[in-house]
Symmetry: C2
């Protein structure tokens, strides 16, 4: 291929291009070439490469030197092949000029059809088709499209002229216009063009062609196309190709038709042709809905020969492309032409079935099958969701805080939600935000909706932990606790009215929207088993309860990567004890409260160990700042002020004042960067000591029963080896004391979260003490960027993504350029000290496919994610390994 080849011809059973040249020829052009080479009947034509587009823009909108000559040669070859000539008044060659980028950008760029018509050639078309009305209708359409696309005249102006003409002729629809009317329209269009542009409509087909080519290249940079590329992460420098192709017509009579079809059902995956066609129609008629298209199966009776050809082509294309194809075809006077083929988009369910079927059919291997399913889409299968076909009444959209759909009566008070929920009623708890005091209400509700707070707000974190649907930070709704109602966009929703939330996309609907249950079938199991055979990296789960742990094991989790012990502190019966512990001013009092918590934590851990069997269970010691367990400062302040002024309850005032003082003492300016994690463990060693005791009493007692348990103790928020050393030594001591007392030997390890930039940078030192690393990429992202997730997501980050300042939300998709590099540094330094250091990730990124793949590539041993994301991580991990081998 010479560097100067800008034009690729296809037709007559052979083509210069092929599918592999998609980057150069665009998707459409490459596949037209490929089909031509396969001997499939494709209207001949040629593709001007994407390179020309790039050069055109690089050179101030000038074409490369040789292009003119190459187009001329291709056109001559086309004329020869078709036995027609461009501009021939007897039998004119007519072409379409279409864009075609690497990635499909549907409807974003422009197309010109019927190019080559003028006042002379239109007669040739009449002669050849014997249909003057058809000829003039085609001409009318060409002038209109050209005026719009090439000359930039607003399409509605032509529509107005048509409307006037229809009125004049008493025509109801376009097709009622006769030849005379159409002829007049052509004239009037041309006149309008002349008036607006001062130019005559070009009668020379070559001039038409060049202007149309330029217009299509120009459409690459129209506003629509630019913002589409921004939205879909398509690089602006890619450029589009231009396809010039002989026209074929599906609307020449009853032996004509046009249709679109999939080689298999893209919704269910069923191996059955799927599609629609219309007789005597053009492509746009199928889509526009003016006429109701017929099922593709009916073509068998309507036009048996064309159907047979089509089926043959379907088989050929699937055999060739080894995947479901989405095609467009036209039947012109009984002859079938293929106008497009591309890989068919499909639902998650279909993707899985098709992949598994194709392996069974021997069409693809298992690796390919595993690569065929987009892990991101598995979410569709694992949660209840709103029926996409249902009619719904959308109220507002918030953050997709915890996936799943749920309906219920709106309740604003947590006590009431708890009471009614526990009686079996379906309620949705609606709050501005939640606090530990709402836990019982959240637990009894079907779902949670808050008007404030981000993806790590209390509501979001707790709901995800509970596996309960939640929409958080839905700022469009305004909650009024006193009136027990919320308003949204002027509508008032009162307590007791029914709403539905979808935590998978953050949407809130009025009334009970119909939902679809999770659909896990044998195909899913089969595919996941293949994936497990391929992947190198383990998949664990983040689970704080035995129920979550069990669910995760069902979904294939190979251990627990993160148990957040603080979530156990929030339980209704424990919070007062936790508060006693926090408010203690001396170690003795604190220890007394801790002694009460110990048996509770022990039972928690026992349940989790039992659920996980001999799989490893990583338990993180207390992480959040203590004031998270105390009442809200603002609410207390209001209460105290009220009590002070009213003066009617001095005892309560005293009690509340005391609490207020404590809350103020513990309050922090930036709690995320405050007194939390191992800093608490160093300040109050007795807290970690209690937790470690609980872990090893639980593990030890199970071991005495002959059960195998593998606890891993994890120290959070280490910034310096000294912190790890201190907390680890005290944990070791506490663990050994318990085990000695029980007379049990047990394998266990003590490791650390790596969630601060300084921990990454000094990972070589930290690895001297750590028996494992686990990346906490939530905090690492917060500190690397200096973003508070709570503040950023609700405020500037949403705008950043909207305005394309950032491509992705780094809290959802791991930032490989920055945070990822810090991780890489930590992995390298950690393994420099300990060659076989076990390293995992337990931040939320552990369940995001591109992040899982990154973790595989930097050599982590495992990812850990919420139970529902385990299958997704398994699949992504397998894909990463297959990509590696490729």
């Amino acid at each position: 291929m010479s560097e100067n080849k800008y034009v690729y011809f296809f037709g007559g059973g052979e083509a210069d291009g092929r599918t592999g040249l998609k980057n150069l020829l665009g998707g459409k052009g490459a596949n037209l070439a490929e089909m031509t080479n396969l001997g499939i009947n494709v209207p001949p034509g040629f593709t001007i490469t994407t390179e020309v587009c790039t050069l055109y823009y690089e050179n101030d909108e000038n074409y490369p030197k040789n292009l003119d000559q190459q187009v001329k040669e291709a056109l001559e070859r086309l004329e020869e092949l078709m036995g027609q000539e461009f501009g021939d008044v007897e039998d004119p060659l007519l072409v379409s000029v279409r864009s075609g980028a690497r990635e499909s950008m549907p409807g974003m760029m422009d197309t010109v059809l019927n190019l080559g018509l003028n006042d002379q050639t239109v007669n040739g078309l009449t002669k050849k088709t014997g249909n003057e009305r058809f000829a003039y209708d085609s001409y009318r359409r060409f002038v209109q499209m050209y005026g719009n696309v090439v000359l930039g005249i607003d399409g509605s102006e032509f529509e107005e002229i048509i409307e006037a003409k229809k009125e004049e002729y008493g025509a109801e629809v376009d097709t009622d216009l006769d030849v005379k009317a159409l002829k007049e329209l052509v004239k009037e269009f041309k006149k309008h063009i002349k008036e607006l542009t001062g130019l005559d409509f070009p009668e020379d087909p070559k001039e038409q062609l060049w202007k149309a080519i330029t217009a299509v290249f120009g459409s690459w940079n129209n506003e629509r196309a630019i913002s589409y590329r921004n939205l879909n992460d398509i690089p602006h420098h890619w450029g589009t190709a231009v396809n010039v192709q002989t026209m074929v017509y599906g609307n020449m009579g009853e032996d004509c038709g046009t249709g679109v079809a999939f080689t298999r059902n893209p919704s269910t995956g069923e191996k059955k042709y799927y599609g629609e066609y219309l007789k005597n129609a053009q492509g746009e008629d199928v889509v526009s809905g003016v006429r109701t298209p017929k099922d593709i199966q009916e073509l068998k009776n309507d036009m048996p020969q064309a159907y047979r050809q089509l089926v043959e082509i379907f088989e050929k294309l699937e055999q060739h492309y080894k995947d479901v194809q989405d095609v467009e075809f036209t039947i012109q006077q009984g002859e079938l032409y293929m106008l497009q083929t591309r890989t068919g988009k499909r639902t998650a369910k279909a993707a899985i079935k098709i992949a598994v079927d194709m392996v069974d059919e021997g069409l693809i291997d298992k690796e390919t099958a595993v690569m065929r399913v987009d892990p991101k889409k598995l979410d569709q299968l694992l949660h209840k969701r709103i029926d996409p076909d249902a009619e719904v009444d959308l109220l507002a959209t918030g953050l997709d805080a915890s996936p799943g759909a749920a309906s219920g009566e709106v309740i604003f008070d947590s006590d009431e939600a708890a009471e009614r929920g526990n009686e079996g009623e379906k309620v949705i708890l609606v709050r501005t935000e939640t606090s530990p005091e709402d836990i019982h209400g959240m637990a009894a509700a079907q779902g949670i909706l808050t008007s404030r707070g981000g993806m790590t707000s209390h509501a979001a974190v707790v709901a995800r932990g509970m596996g309960k649907p939640a929409v958080a930070g839905c700022e469009a709704i305004s909650v009024d606790y006193e009136k027990e109602e919320f308003t949204v966009d002027g509508r008032i929703i009162k307590k007791g009215e029914c709403i539905t939330i979808d935590g998978g996309n953050g949407e809130v609907y009025y009334g009970e929207a119909p939902t679809i249950d999770p659909e896990l079938d044998k195909n899913f199991e089969k595919l996941m088993k293949w994936a497990d055979n391929f992947r190198k990296i383990n998949v664990r789960t983040n689970a704080d309860t035995p129920a979550d742990a069990k669910k995760a094991v069902e979904y294939g989790a190979e251990g627990i990567g993160l148990t957040r012990t603080e979530h156990m502190f929030f339980a209704e019966d424990r919070l007062p004890i936790v508060q006693d512990m926090i408010l203690a001013t001396d170690t003795e009092t604190r220890k007394k409260a801790l002694d009460k918590l110990l048996p509770m934590q022990k039972e928690d851990f026992k349940g989790i160990f039992e659920a996980m069997g001999e799989r490893p269970v990583t338990i993180r010691l207390l992480d959040p700042p203590l004031h998270e367990f105390l009442p809200d400062h603002g609410e207390l302040l209001v209460e105290v002020t009220e009590l002070r002024i009213k003066g009617n309850n001095p005892e309560k005032l005293k009690e509340k004042e005391k609490m207020l003082k404590e809350v103020e003492r513990l309050e922090e300016v930036n709690p995320m960067l405050g007194h939390r994690g191992c800093r608490l463990g160093i300040s109050y060693p007795e807290i970690y000591e209690m937790q470690v005791k609980a872990i090893f009493e639980a593990a030890g007692e199970l071991a005495l029963e002959g059960k195998k348990v593998s606890p891993e103790v994890m120290i959070p928020l280490v910034s310096d080896i000294a912190e790890l050393k201190i907390t680890k030594n005290s944990a070791l001591k506490a663990a050994q004391t318990v085990l000695d007392k029980l007379g049990v030997e047990l394998n266990y390890t003590i490791g650390t979260m790596i969630e601060l930039p300084r921990a990454c940078i000094t990972a070589d030192e930290i690895a001297e003490e750590a028996e494992f690393f686990s990346f906490g990429t939530n905090d690492l992202t917060q500190t690397a960027y200096g973003f508070s997730r709570d503040d950023a997501e609700g405020k500037f980050l949403a705008k950043y993504i909207e305005d394309n300042v950032f491509e992705n939300n780094p809290f959802q998709v791991l930032d490989q350029d920055g945070v990822g590099k810090l991780m890489k540094i930590a992995v390298d330094k950690g393994r420099q000290t300990k060659e076989n250091l076990k390293i995992g990730i337990c931040g939320e990124h552990g369940g995001e496919p591109s992040s899982v793949k990154f973790c595989h590539r930097v050599g982590l041993n495992y990812v850990s994610c919420s139970p529902f994301r385990v299958p997704l991580a398994r699949l992504a991990a397998a894909q990463a390994q297959i990509e590696d081998q490729a």
Copy 2:
């Protein structure tokens, strides 16, 4: 030197050791050897190396094999040299056994004197000195010391026995006890020892010696010594040496004496011998204060020969060591012995004078002079401070938030402080914490004291900006606004009482403490000029006002590295406009408020540009989150609640409610990581636009007057190149518009703060857009460690440092292991993209000596610090360069 040499002999004009072997012999031992080699009269003896100490602890408290033999040989050599024998009943050799570490650890380890005495040899001592009382007093002291140091008996028990004996004999002081009483004491001491330990007091001098040596090595790991080392960053593995040295006595009669002296005045630096001595006395008598020692100059008359010898030695030592020496000496029967020499500690003022004088005397070169002054101590010279000799009444100690000393009447209300301060009264504003509404009170006060908040609290930052003394976070005081008083440790200080604060050390005193003014003299200027000639790295200042800028230039600043534009927003007349800007809900209203601020900011910048002349001036665009400019949330909440319940002022309620709503809207969970820095600039481009306009209108107008100005616009808190690109482009546009309008050409640059870990990691990308980097190490430290300075310093960080978890406060001393490595990455990556990229630092570390040196080493172009720290930075920068060349 063989590896097995553990004992180094000195005496008879030659020594095995020398000063260079300080690590092996300890400071004392090395210098005794050196003096011996210099021909100075030193009582002979030997040093057992620090290596023995290390081996002793490594081998479970066993000595290395050859030690026994080597000590025996050294002892024999000593006996031969002295013509005495250990344990000789006629003329016994008596020795002292003293510790001596690499770094002096005064009073931390143990000493045994008069070793070698027993019931027989005491008679020999009597015979030789003809003084039985002296002999028995020495014996009594030996038994007492031995019992205490070697046998671990509490010293007070021996004192009790002495007290009883004094009562028995009717003696008032120890010296009243006669020979009989002393003999009885020796017996009783021995009896007491036998009772407590079950062991007889060892009569064998060799046994005494070995036990004493072991006791001294053992004292290396006594609690006192360990915590001293922790406090002073002395590694525990260094170990101590043991010096065994012939005893000499300054208390044998009127031809005896003892003293300590400096070769120059360590307080003023004056070239004049400085010290004290006592006739017929032991070393401890000089220190204890029982007798008043005489000025060393009087020795000239008292003992002219000894004085002459001493002066000769002084000269010899200074010539040899090229530095001021701090010596101990004893005169025994007319003969002068040197017992110790070491480098003399001195004040900053003395250090400078001595260094400059010694260059003038040709004793040292300028490099050495520059190295001789500890930059940290320059602070003493540049701020008013409390007279160290004054008697003061310390109330409490808080954080040294802003250096300088100030006295005044306690005032709690900012309005009152402003009023009285502006009338010329001296007041100290005392608040729990300050907010923008206190600015006018702070400006008019002599100093500020707060009970809450860290080194970056509002009070601290603003006070440093104003160059006003402040003590922040003084948690020991409890402020009661209603009663207008504060309590501290049970004491009540009422409004109007006078206190003094020292922001240089965080101390708060009752009453008006006498202060010393800054002392800058010619010596200082001379030394700083030398320093400037050596240093490679530039020194700039952080300055927000023309006054600060001028002061900094006086102190040698070569530009401004950081102007914080937000400090201009806090001014009393501007805050309402700033609030209007913040509360604006549409761009038009916001722009109106900004239009009002523009001329004010312009005047600010003009003043600063004028003060700096053609020196570069880096102006940082708005950085803090907007709610910092709004009223406190808690206070508003209380106000609104009160107004609601009272219901007597619906209008005010409405107004306050509106403000409350806005404050809540803008409130952030972690403001440090919130909507601030360039994120504001992206959300509200009009804010940065106004600031850039103000900068270039100011600069442009000055340029039109023919003045040279060099503005550098700095974008804060960039985490990703996209943020810089957007804000830079909009700044470029705004700047160019102004300059075009004025018709002025101006050189200026636009760069970025590097203050987030992600910015360091992606510095290669960021450098594509940035014309300079400036490290914001405050934020970088916060994010690298995940520490909020506001929260950490008041809470866990203080404890971390106290407990030696961390060596230093990383907000004061740059953390070279973590934060420094991130900086290094950023420097390397930045210069990878732009070879000559200008890189500076404007965090507070820019004024801390070890951090300045680090900045020099990683290749920064400049450091920037507060005006008062400029000289310090200049000196540290010079030292870094000199160290480099060494």
